[in-house]
């Protein structure tokens, strides 16, 4: 069990933090060159030189290219028409067929932007090459954009993801363990034995949950060390503040676990319910997909998502150096949550026994 509690999560922290990027790169790019002129080759070379595209295949016909796209071998196909080079010189403009696999709509949009930029810059270069007169009047208008990424110039998504994934792992471990714990005793029959001892219910519950609280804190500590050593995630804010928040946060999770445990008869039921909530908490935490993009009712649901607050606090403290005042709203909400959940848990425990 110990490897599952510690090694599995930490291994995932190290590996999975690398996965969570929306960057669009290594786009599988194919082309159909019906012209085979120096101009068409130069255009393809432009794509080849771009870091976003992996120029893969030269398809002889459009049918072949379509089939390849159906097989998922290629995401973007560019078709260079016949007489591409000649038309460009005689008619001075030309069209280019682009087909994008748009199943991932967001990525398709980005790919389209990349393509347009490359073609634009190609236009510029052929103009300087081909046209002798540089008539300013017929120059197209360009609005240049300069993207500036503040706080994280290199768009290093790992520093962003590592704290978030650490949050998920701490939450999952503590929730699953606490959710299963009491129902397990119920199933095996040891709970009755405990109920006849003079131990107070609150003492019993604290005694049950304290080890999980310690496990959660230990996991956080090791996770933070790994974030620093492996990913060089900065720790701008106060470590103490982070621990203070986490110590309250874990109480929320344990309260939820206990509550689930009290309302179920078997470990199986407890785990299904815990799983249900964890998946919702994870996918609606704003960690992987932005909360602002969700419909309003879904955003309301996220208000009840403890992971959302923890992710926010973790990032604010670690990356931006926020202090106690900055995270006060999250801290208060979490505190209230902890009191309510544990109150419910203790109450329901009394009721069920």
């Amino acid at each position: 069990m110990l490897p599952i509690i510690f090694i599995l999560p930490l291994l995932q922290l190290v590996i999975l933090s690398n996965a969570a990027t929306f960057e669009v790169k290594n786009i599988k790019f194919g082309y159909i060159d019906n012209d085979r002129s120096s101009t068409s080759r130069a255009l393809i070379e432009k794509f080849n030189a771009s870091t976003y595209f992996n120029v893969l295949t030269d398809y002889p016909t459009q049918n072949k290219a379509s089939a390849a796209m159906l097989r998922g071998e290629v995401d973007v196909v560019m078709e260079i028409p016949q007489h591409f080079s000649r038309n460009l010189q005689t008619e001075q403009h030309n069209t280019l067929g682009i087909i994008i696999n748009a199943i991932d709509g967001a990525a398709a949009g980005v790919e389209n932007v990349y393509i347009t930029q490359i073609v634009k810059s190609f236009n510029k270069s052929i103009r300087t090459d081909l046209s002798q007169i540089s008539d300013a009047q017929i120059q197209p208008i360009t609005i240049e954009t300069i993207p500036l990424f503040w706080y994280n110039e290199t768009l290093n998504y790992k520093t962003f993801m590592v704290p978030g994934i650490l949050v998920l792992l701490v939450t999952m471990i503590t929730l699953f363990l606490s959710g299963m714990n009491i129902v397990r005793e119920k199933e095996i029959g040891t709970l009755e034995q405990i109920n006849v001892t003079p131990i107070k219910k609150s003492q019993f519950i604290i005694g049950k949950l304290f080890p999980f609280w310690v496990i959660g804190m230990a996991l956080l500590s090791i996770g933070l060390i790994i974030s620093k050593l492996v990913f060089d995630v900065p720790m701008v804010g106060s470590l103490l503040l982070l621990y203070l928040y986490t110590s309250i946060y874990i109480l929320v999770v344990l309260g939820i676990g206990l509550f689930i445990s009290n309302f179920t008869d078997t470990q199986q039921q407890a785990m299904f319910i815990a799983w249900f909530f964890v998946v919702i908490f994870i996918l609606m935490s704003g960690l992987f997909t932005p909360i602002e993009s969700m419909p309003r009712w879904a955003q309301l649901i996220t208000e009840f998502n403890p992971i959302k607050y923890y992710v926010e606090v973790m990032r604010m403290v670690m990356l931006k150096g926020s202090d106690l005042m900055d995270i006060l709203p999250q801290l208060i909400k979490t505190l209230v949550y902890a009191v309510v959940m544990n109150g419910l848990a203790v109450w329901s425990y009394k009721k069920t026994t």
């Binding site: 969570a20 929306f22 669009v24 280019l96 709509g105 398709a108 785990m271 997909t289 993009s293």
Partner: protein
């Protein structure tokens, strides 16, 4: 065979007696697919941005209107000094500031070129990146309109066709993923729990001493869950079609068969987990801790696999969910037949056989 049927009957008793689990089993996937189908999107919507307009001329106004009118952005704040940018980020929910250079219109007319800075709060690099791309897309559209009347020499105009999902709906991207995750986790969890449960209660020993062969015991335990998962899969597909308007371009029969294959793969994984764990607790921790995040992150469900670092792309090959998501998208959105997805199908088949073989081997080791 009669023995076997009696065994399966007994499994169904177990399942139907535990009404709560049954309710959870069917209720939760429905709740999840509804919730996630609507809520999960990697598009951006109504992102709060601020404007720093140093020109305040007709062109910048037009651009600002264009951006404000799009459903992606809502302009929360207009600032006047560059020094204010930092405080805007620190205070509010503003994710980006658009900084228009001075004499924007004039430069556009004189030099045919003007510049906008897109400053994003890149603490969330994914959103920052997306915002930048969306602004760029809007500006490109705007340029095209401006240049419409100018007949420029030597110009190539790309004509882009978005195939399989012309409206770029993110539901198309996520529904197959949600379906995969639900089927995989529910199936793997159910089998691993129900098998380890017999171990924990001591009934497994009795079964092993009976003339039933070990593989009959395992298969017998799994068959009822195949039925349950198939019902789950049908419900999820129906919801996808009727609630989220997912098209099924390809053959419904093929979709069904592939789903059954994937369910069996997941159940086989559950069997494997149950052979290496002695208690329900261990089985559940392995199925949940071990499967949940890797499946969400490495299957291509949310994040594009092709953008991941090479080692992770290689690791993603061993995630069964990845292959099923490819198959689902291919059948539902591309409308292809088996001739285009036989490779993925074979991989899932291979994985199933591998999981089964490994389970049988582990099982023997356990019995020594």
């Amino acid at each position: 065979m009669k023995r076997f049927i009696g065994f399966i009957k007994k499994e169904f008793y177990h399942i139907f007696r535990d009404r709560r689990s049954l309710f959870i089993l069917f209720g939760m996937p429905i709740a999840q697919i509804l919730l996630f189908g609507f809520a999960i999107t990697n598009e951006i919507n109504n992102v709060d941005i601020a404007i720093l307009d140093n020109s305040k001329d007709s062109t910048t106004e037009e651009i600002i209107n264009k951006i404000g009118a799009s459903k992606y952005f809502s302009i929360k704040q207009v600032i006047t000094r560059e020094v204010d940018i930092a405080s805007v980020f620190e205070k509010g929910h503003v994710k980006a500031v658009l900084n228009f250079e001075k004499d924007f219109s004039k430069k556009l007319i004189k030099d045919h070129k003007a510049t906008i800075q897109i400053i994003t709060d890149a603490t969330d690099p994914n959103t920052a990146n997306t915002i930048t791309n969306y602004v760029n897309a809007i500006l490109q559209q705007y340029q095209k309109e401006l240049n419409k009347d100018i007949n420029v020499a030597y110009q190539i105009i790309p004509q882009t066709r978005m195939v399989y999902n012309p409206e770029l709906k993110s539901v198309y991207m996520f529904v197959p993923g949600v379906m995969t995750i639900i089927l995989l986790l529910v199936s793997a969890m159910m089998t691993s729990i129900s098998i380890t449960r017999e171990k924990e209660l001591g009934t497994m020993e009795i079964l092993l001493v009976s003339p039933l062969k070990p593989f009959q015991v395992i298969i017998g335990k799994v068959i009822p869950y195949i039925f349950l998962s198939i019902i789950n899969a049908i419900v999820i597909v129906m919801l996808s079609i009727f609630i989220f308007n997912m098209p099924i371009q390809g053959s419904l029969l093929l979709l069904g068969l592939e789903s059954v294959l994937f369910i069996i793969t997941s159940l086989a994984l559950g069997i494997l987990i149950s052979t290496i764990s002695a208690t329900q607790q261990t089985a559940m921790m392995i199925s949940l801790m071990g499967l949940m995040l890797p499946v969400i992150l490495l299957s291509g469900f949310i994040f594009p696999i092709s953008s991941m670092p090479m080692p992770l792309q290689i690791i993603s090959h061993i995630i069964p969910a990845k292959w099923f998501i490819i198959i689902l998208k291919a059948i539902m959105l591309k409308g292809v037949g088996l001739e285009f997805i036989w490779k993925e199908t074979l991989i899932l088949l291979g994985m199933t056989v591998f999981f089964m073989a490994l389970s049988v081997k582990k099982y023997k080791i356990r019995l020594e």
